[in-house]
Symmetry: C2
Subunit: 335 residues, 2 copies
DNA sequence: CTGAAAGCGCTTACAG
DNA sequence: CTGAAAGCGCTTACAG
């Protein structure tokens, strides 16, 4: 079945016109006599001709491909954002192909993949990160192609960005706890991230505004897996009695909740818990997990849309977008 | 910062050699005088030259890019498999770029994306589907580039495939229920899929081998969202009293479990539940959800590895791989 | 409206 | 070991 690949030459010959004419009807880039256009179209159809996008990319110096760089594709929130990115990239008016790289939160890998994307002549790059160094930030800022940063905490004022206000989100959560009269509010986070810094800032701001003391030991680094977190929580709660938990990780929040229940600690009466991201799991556990929700899919859509605008040199009123977040109240809190 | 893009010509001129020589050191494709090689390498370094992969692809007639077609990128299991695919594609010896398309279980979209991938001159394609038509299956079988089907139920004997034995998995689950003396075993599934057909076959085989009657009304089509499934389960369990549930969907399994608990039905004493895929959520809910586990990440790794072998024309002892599945027992069953 | 020709940035026989 | 040249499959001024 592997018949010789048919090219624009075949179409031209078969239709009795020049390459240029075929190219013109293909791209609707110039007027072509209706009858010739008809013939060409007919031949294209008959030969089932599909232009070679690689050759096209070389000739045009545009690949109609964008690169996407994410810290971890296996994360549910990331997959959901990719979903928004892909849906948008493939819309009628865009039709960009997407080269996706997952750099495992490894900044050396990030650099390699970044170069790879540029070698592949992508027209633009979508970048997400948990944590970033000045060196990498500079690399991105000096990119030869347009870049949009999404779902990441960055203080750069030259980068286009679609994200949420992490600081405010954690301020809101902490404020709720403090207003409820709690003193010992645990702040749980998984790994060292830039988002973490600003989330922590929100946590601390709520404390200072309430004139309550921040206890360093209440800022906890948790594990990646549920099992580890459960074991840790079980041990922790056996001796310490926090009033509330704000967690950046679903898995840790649920581990603490289950450990508490197993220790006879009542939720939310004796311990309130709020988590971040509002994944599907939050509503499936009992009691339901109160969680900060933000438009994950939409962030994917918006960032891709923003990137296409920049790639087309459209006028932008602004290049920094902050999506709203909202706390979804469930049984793990008293409210 | 947008200095003129530097090309192989610049390197050749600067190093005082021909294009061909630069190309040779770039690709290590032929012997080059050590001293010239040294100069070229030095110039490449100094100019920070990166070959244009698009031009390279055109000249070589190989793009070093593979296409990946999945029904829904936002699904956790899919994201996990992509994780395995990407990790493998980027390994030292492979270095394939990945063009990823999510076709929303829409077979027309599938066809469009399939053509897009071919237009982009991918060297091979990785395909996953829930359901497939003869037309599409034929299209894949006649692909001009190598294809590997993964995590999909197919009866094609010409396609290379990495998957699990869905039939056996559901036989195993159903058999456990029947051996435990149950009669009314619900079979819950989300949408019409090819996997479903074979899963259902396993379910029915267990029944016939046990000489127990299959009740058509026990085969249930469930919803996509947890909320809908919960509402449905609440209503269902108010009147009917199944002994056990085998569900292809986590969300439905958990919805039934929570609805049962809310109705005072004891789990697992009065109702046993087993689900499919063993997602992270299965271990977080209370009681834990017994689930069929299979090596999701590994399927991604294996299918990508298989594809590279085929792309390189390596000898294959076989092209059909069935990964083992296993039931992870938790609190939703008596065992 | 149309075609011949140059060019996109590489690789690869071919000849030496 | 090395270079000149053709070619990969398109697009796009340019001239008519």
């Amino acid at each position: 079945m592997k018949n010789k690949k048919i090219t624009i030459y075949d179409v031209a010959r078969e239709a009795g016109v020049s390459l240029a004419t075929v190219s013109r009807v293909l791209n609707k880039s110039a007027k072509v006599a209706p009858e010739k256009e008809q013939v060409v179209l007919e031949v294209i159809e008959r030969l089932n001709y599909r232009p070679n996008e690689v050759a096209r990319g070389l000739a045009r110096k545009r690949s109609t491909t964008v690169g996407v760089l994410v810290p971890e594709i296996g994360r549910l929130s990331v997959a959901e954002m990719l979903s928004g990115i892909l849906d948008t990239a493939n819309m009628e008016m865009y039709k960009y192909s997407t080269l996706i790289k997952s750099y495992a939160s490894d900044l050396d890998l990030f650099k390699t993949y970044w170069e790879d994307l540029l070698s592949n002549q992508v027209d633009g790059i979508l970048v997400m990160f948990d944590y970033i160094t000045d060196e990498i930030q500079e690399m991105i800022e000096n990119s030869p192609v347009p870049v949009v940063v999404f779902a990441s905490a960055t203080d750069s004022d030259v980068l286009a960005c679609v994200s949420i206000n992490y600081e405010q989100a954690f301020y809101d959560v902490t404020k709720y706890f403090l207003d409820a009269g709690h003193e010992d509010v645990l702040f749980c986070t998984r790994n060292y991230t830039s988002a973490l810094e600003v989330q922590k800032h929100g946590y601390m701001r709520a404390f200072s505004e309430s004139n309550k003391p921040i206890k360093e030991e209440n800022i906890l680094r948790v594990y990646r897996s549920y099992e580890e977190n459960y074991a840790f929580a079980k041990e922790y709660l056996a001796t310490k009695k926090p009033d509330a938990i704000a967690s950046t990780s679903d898995s840790a929040a649920i581990a603490f909740m289950n450990a508490a229940l197993d220790l006879g600690i009542q939720i939310p009466e004796q311990l309130e818990i709020i988590s971040f991201s509002n994944t599907k799991t939050s509503q499936m556990v009992r009691p339901g997990l109160t969680s900060v929700s933000y438009p994950i899919y939409k962030i994917g859509v918006f960032s891709m849309r923003l990137l296409t605008k920049i790639m087309r040199n459209e006028e932008l009123e602004k290049k920094n977008f902050t999506e709203a977040h909202e706390i979804i109240w469930r049984g793990s809190t008293k409210k």
